[in-house]
C-alpha cells in the first residue's frame, strides 16, 4: 500500500515527459506564423493523427476487429456517437464468436 520512492520517481518521470509533449505544441504555435500550405497541413492534422492512432489497432488485430471497424465507419457517417459505440461493440462480440 506504501508509496515506493523508486516507483514515485518513475511516475514523476513519465508525468514530466507527458507534460512536455502536451505543452510543446501550444508553445510552438505561440511562436510561428503559417503560410497557406502549412495551414492546409494543420487543418488535416486532427484527421491524420486520429487515423494514425486508430487504423493499426482497428485493422491489424484480426478479422473481427477490422470488420467491426468498417461497419462502425459506415454507421458513423449518419448515426450519432452512442449508436456507433453500441453497434461496434455488438459487432465485435458477434464476429469473435463466428470468425477466427
Amino acid at each position: 500500500m506504501a508509496l515506493d520512492p523508486y516507483n514515485l520517481l518513475l511516475i514523476a518521470l513519465v508525468t514530466a515527459v507527458t507534460l512536455a509533449t502536451r505543452l510543446g505544441g501550444a508553445l510552438i504555435m505561440a511562436r510561428v506564423q503559417l503560410g497557406l500550405s502549412a495551414k492546409a497541413a494543420f487543418e488535416a492534422m486532427p484527421v491524420a493523427v486520429m487515423t494514425a492512432v486508430l487504423a493499426p489497432a482497428a485493422l491489424t488485430q484480426g478479422w473481427p476487429e477490422a470488420l467491426a471497424a468498417i461497419i462502425a465507419v459506415i454507421v458513423g457517417l449518419w448515426a450519432p456517437m452512442y449508436v456507433v459505440l453500441i453497434t461496434g461493440m455488438v459487432c465485435v462480440v458477434l464476429f469473435r464468436m463466428w470468425l477466427p
Binding site: M1, N7, M29, F42, M45, A48, A52, P56, G76, L85
Partner: protein, 238 residues
C-alpha cells in the same frame, strides 16, 4: 451561452467517451495492481499522467526494477502525438487566457482534443467547454482506475463484452464527424495505410508519427495543387 452552460455542454459532448472509458479505467487499475504497484501509486499515476495508451504501455514495461530510461523514451514516443494535437488546437485557443491555455494542456487527451477541435470547427471553443469535457474525463478516468485497483482481479475480462473495442468505436465516430470532402478521404487513406504498415514493420509507437506525417503531407500537397493550377500546368510536358 453562459460559462456554466458551456461547461455542461462540454461534459455532455464527451459523455460517450466517458461510457467507453469506465471499463478501460477499471481494467487499467486491475492490471496495475497485478503488476505490483500499490493502490496509491496506481491512483497517483492516473491523476498525474492521465494518458490511457501510455499508462497501459508503461504498466506493461513495469518490472522489478522498472527500466527508467526505456520508460522515459517510451513515454516520449507514445505521447509525441500530443505535440501535433497541441499545435493544431493552439489555433483555436484565442479565447483562452495564458493560464487557461497552459493549464488546459495538462488535460489534453486524444478524446478531449478531438471534441475541442470539433467544437472549434462548428463555432467557438470556450475555456468552459474545454474544461468541462477535460475535467469530466479526468474524474471518470481516475474514479474508474481507483475502483479497478481496489476491486483487483475480482473483475471479469472486458473483452468478453466487447468493451476493449469501445474506444475504437468512439474514435471512429469522432473521425467520421470530421468528414468534409474527398480530400478528407485522401488524408484518411494515407494516414491509415502508412500507420498500419509501419505498425506491422517497426516495433514501438512510431507508426503514429509516420501515419500522421503521411496524412499531413498529402493534405499540404493536395492543397498546393489546388491553389496553383498555373504552376502545375507549366510543369507538365506539352
Amino acid at each position: 451561452m453562459s460559462a456554466r452552460k458551456e461547461f455542461a455542454a462540454g461534459a455532455a459532448a464527451i459523455s460517450p467517451v466517458l461510457a467507453a472509458a469506465v471499463p478501460i479505467a477499471l481494467l487499467f487499475g486491475t492490471l496495475s495492481v497485478s503488476k505490483g504497484l500499490s493502490v496509491a501509486e496506481t491512483a497517483l499515476m492516473s491523476m498525474t499522467v492521465f494518458a490511457g495508451a501510455l499508462q497501459f504501455v508503461a504498466i506493461d514495461l513495469w518490472g522489478d526494477p522498472a527500466p527508467l530510461g526505456l520508460l522515459a523514451f517510451t513515454a516520449l514516443v507514445v505521447n509525441i502525438r500530443h505535440v501535433l494535437m497541441g499545435a493544431s488546437l493552439g489555433r483555436s485557443l484565442g479565447g483562452f487566457s495564458p493560464v487557461q491555455k497552459y493549464a488546459g494542456m495538462f488535460l489534453l487527451t486524444d478524446e478531449g482534443w478531438a471534441f475541442a477541435e470539433q467544437r472549434a470547427r462548428r463555432g467557438t471553443l470556450t475555456p468552459a467547454f474545454y474544461f468541462g469535457s477535460g475535467l469530466a474525463l479526468w474524474l471518470t478516468w481516475n474514479t474508474g482506475t481507483l475502483a479497478g485497483a481496489l476491486l483487483g482481479a475480482s473483475m471479469g475480462d472486458p473483452a468478453a463484452f466487447g468493451f476493449d473495442f469501445a474506444f475504437t468505436a468512439v474514435f471512429i465516430a469522432i473521425l467520421t464527424g470530421f468528414w468534409s470532402n474527398w480530400r478528407t478521404g485522401a488524408v484518411l487513406l494515407a494516414s491509415g495505410a502508412v500507420s498500419a504498415l509501419v505498425k506491422l514493420a517497426v516495433p514501438g509507437a512510431w507508426y503514429i508519427m509516420a501515419g500522421a506525417a503521411a496524412g499531413i503531407v498529402v493534405a499540404a500537397v493536395l492543397h498546393a495543387q489546388d491553389d496553383t493550377p498555373d504552376e502545375t500546368d507549366r510543369l507538365m510536358p506539352s
